[in-house]
Assembly symmetry: C2
Homo-oligomer: 384 residues x 2
Amino acid sequence: MSSAAAQPLSGVRIVEISSFVAVPLAGMTLAQLGAEVVRVDPIGGAADYHRWPLTAGGDSIYWAGLNKGKRSMEVDMRSPDGQHLVQRLIAAAGVLITNVAGRQWHSHEALRTLRPDLIHLEVVGRADGTTGVDYTVNAATGFPLVTGPVDHVGPVNHVMPSWDVSCGLYAALAILAALRRRDATGEGSRIRLPLDDVALATAANLGFLTEAMVNGDQRPRLGNAIYGQYGRDFATSDGESFMVVALTARHFRDLAELTGTTEAVAALADALGVDFTDEGRRYEHREVLDELFAGWFGSHTAAEAGAALSASSVLWDRYQSFAEVATSPRVTANPLFAPLQQDRIGTYLAPGLPMSIDGAHIPAAPAPLLGEDNSAVPAEWLGR
Amino acid sequence: MSSAAAQPLSGVRIVEISSFVAVPLAGMTLAQLGAEVVRVDPIGGAADYHRWPLTAGGDSIYWAGLNKGKRSMEVDMRSPDGQHLVQRLIAAAGVLITNVAGRQWHSHEALRTLRPDLIHLEVVGRADGTTGVDYTVNAATGFPLVTGPVDHVGPVNHVMPSWDVSCGLYAALAILAALRRRDATGEGSRIRLPLDDVALATAANLGFLTEAMVNGDQRPRLGNAIYGQYGRDFATSDGESFMVVALTARHFRDLAELTGTTEAVAALADALGVDFTDEGRRYEHREVLDELFAGWFGSHTAAEAGAALSASSVLWDRYQSFAEVATSPRVTANPLFAPLQQDRIGTYLAPGLPMSIDGAHIPAAPAPLLGEDNSAVPAEWLGR
C-alpha cells in the first residue's frame, strides 16, 4: 500500500468543536484517512469527557475510542481571546466540523470573512433548529414501536446509536465532497446536517416511511422475524440462540434439508397452495414454518446446529455477548484490529477504518491527552 | 447553491453490481453527489428486485427507494458476451462497486489489466471470506443480547439494518477517498470492506468491545435506559410514551423542576450521599429516580408533558409510528423531502441527501426502470 492509499487526506487540516458521537466519529474517520484533525475543547473537556464506560481509574473508554488519531487543544472558549485564537485556527485550517450550534463567533457568517473558501459543517438536532440526540430522534422515527417481542407493549429503544453513527459518516462524506468542490472551483461550502434528517432520510430510503405514504399502512411488530423474507432466531437444546436467514430459494431449500423438513415443507406448500420459492410466501407463512424448523434446533446442540448450518448455503450466526466477541478470533485474529497503547486506558485491540486498501489496513493511532497540543498547533498553524 | 456544490462528483462514472442495502445505498449516495452510476443487474433483476415492501401492484418500494438517481442495465452476466460488455463498461468508468463477491470475471485481478488505475470496491460478509448479512452479523455483535426489556430472555434484533447502512456510507466514503488519491497520484485502489468489520469497528469505537477488553466486563440489558447517563421512556396518562434524556446537570435540574420533584430529588441525594450533577450517579440510581419522575408523567397527558418539556432544556421526543412520522410536518414541511414521480410506485415525498449545502438540498431523482439504459450507456461510454 502506498502512503497515498493510507493518507488520501494528507495535508488537509480540520478543526473540530464537538461532543458525543456524530462529529467526533466524523473527525476520527477523516483523521484515519490522513487529515490533521484538531479537536478543540473547553477547559476541563466537553460534555462527553467523562462519558461511560470508564476505567477503574475513572477515565473514559468512550472518549478515547472516538478521538483516536486526533490532536487536542483545551481553550477557554468563553473568553474573547480564546474565541479569537480558535477563529484564527479555523481560518488557517479552512475546515470546521462542529455540533456546537448557535455560537455566533464560530458561525459560518462570522468565519467566512476570515476565510472565504471555508468548509463549515454543522450537525444540528433537527431541521427546524430544535435539539435532538440519537435517543430522542430514534423515538420519533417509528422504529422503537416495531422493535422487540411481538407481545411486548410499548417502545423498545436501540442500544446501538445508529443515527449518530450514520450522521458521523455522512458528515465525513460531506467534507470529502466539499474538498473536491473546493479543489475544482476554489469555493467553500456551508453544510448543515440535522441528525433527525439522517434518520428520516434513512427510514424513507429503506421504505419504512414510503410504504406508509404509498400503501397507507405500515409493518407490524415482528419480533426477531425479518419483514418480507424468511429469517428469525432459533434456540438450541443447550440454550444458545441462532439467527437464521433464507433470502433465496436455494437458502430456503437448504434450511429445509438440514432440518430434515423437506417433505413436511412440501406437504405444507401443497396444503396451503403456495409456492415457497416466492419470498413473500415464506414471510406470510413464517409462523408455521417456524414451528417446523424450531423442533430441529430444539433437539440439537449449538455445536450440531453450527456444523449443519456451516455445511449449507443458509445465512446464519450464533448470538454472542460483547465479552465473547471481544475475545473471539473475529477480533483477535482480524487484521482490522491492532494493539493500541492508549494513555490512561491501557493497551487493547483497537480497530482502524473497517476497510483494507490494496490489501492493507490503516491502523488506529491513540487519542490525545486533553490539551496536549495547546502549544504545538498554534506554533505550526499560525507561526506563533 | 452553485452546480459544483450540488454535483461535486460530476464527471465520475461508476458501475454497480449489487443487491440489497449496503452497495445500493453507496451507489445512490454517490449518484446524489453527482456521479453517473449504472447499476448492472442480471436478466430479471437481482435478488432484491422483488423485496418487500411492495405496492398493491407488486412492485418493490424498497428497490425504488435504494436506486434513486441511477441508470440501469440488464445484462446476461452468465454469458461470456455479457461479461465482456460489463468488463468494458467498468474499464471505461474506472470505478466498480459490488457486493457480488467471488466472480473471477469482475475481480480486481481480471479488471486491472483492462484499467490499471481502476478503483475496485468489494463489500463482503466477513473478513475471513464467509458470508454474512446485516441480520446475521448483528447476532454476532453483542447488541441483541442487551436490547429489549430488562426481564426479557433471549435476543432482540434491531429492525433498522444499522450495519448495512453504515457499510454503505463507508463504501461511499472509500470511493471519494480513492478518487482523491487517483487525482493526486494516478493510482487506483483495491478496497475490501467486510460488513462484519463495519459492525466490529463500530462496536469497538463506541466502547462496547473495549470495556470488555479493558475492564473485563460488559454492560447488562438496560431496557430503554441509557448506559452511564440518565434517560429513559415514560408513559403519560393517555397512553403515549416519551423518551426523556438529561445529559447535563442543567438538563437534570430542569427535569426535576418540571416534574415538581426538585425537593424530593434533593432529599434523595442527601439520603444516598450522592451528587446528581455527576452523570454516573444519575445512572446508578436511575431506578429510584424513574419512580419519582414516572408519577408526574403518569398523571399528565401527552399534550401537557410535551408543553412542559418544550419549555425546558430537557432532551425529549414522543414515540411515534412510521405512519404518523410520514404525515408529520417533520416530513411534509421539511425541505429534505420533495415530491418524486416514481414509475410503477406513484408520486411520494422522497428524501435527497440529509444535508443542505449553501442552504439548499439536492433533491432525489427517480429510480430507473430495469434495463432502461441498455442501449444508451454502451453508446455513450463505449461509442457503440
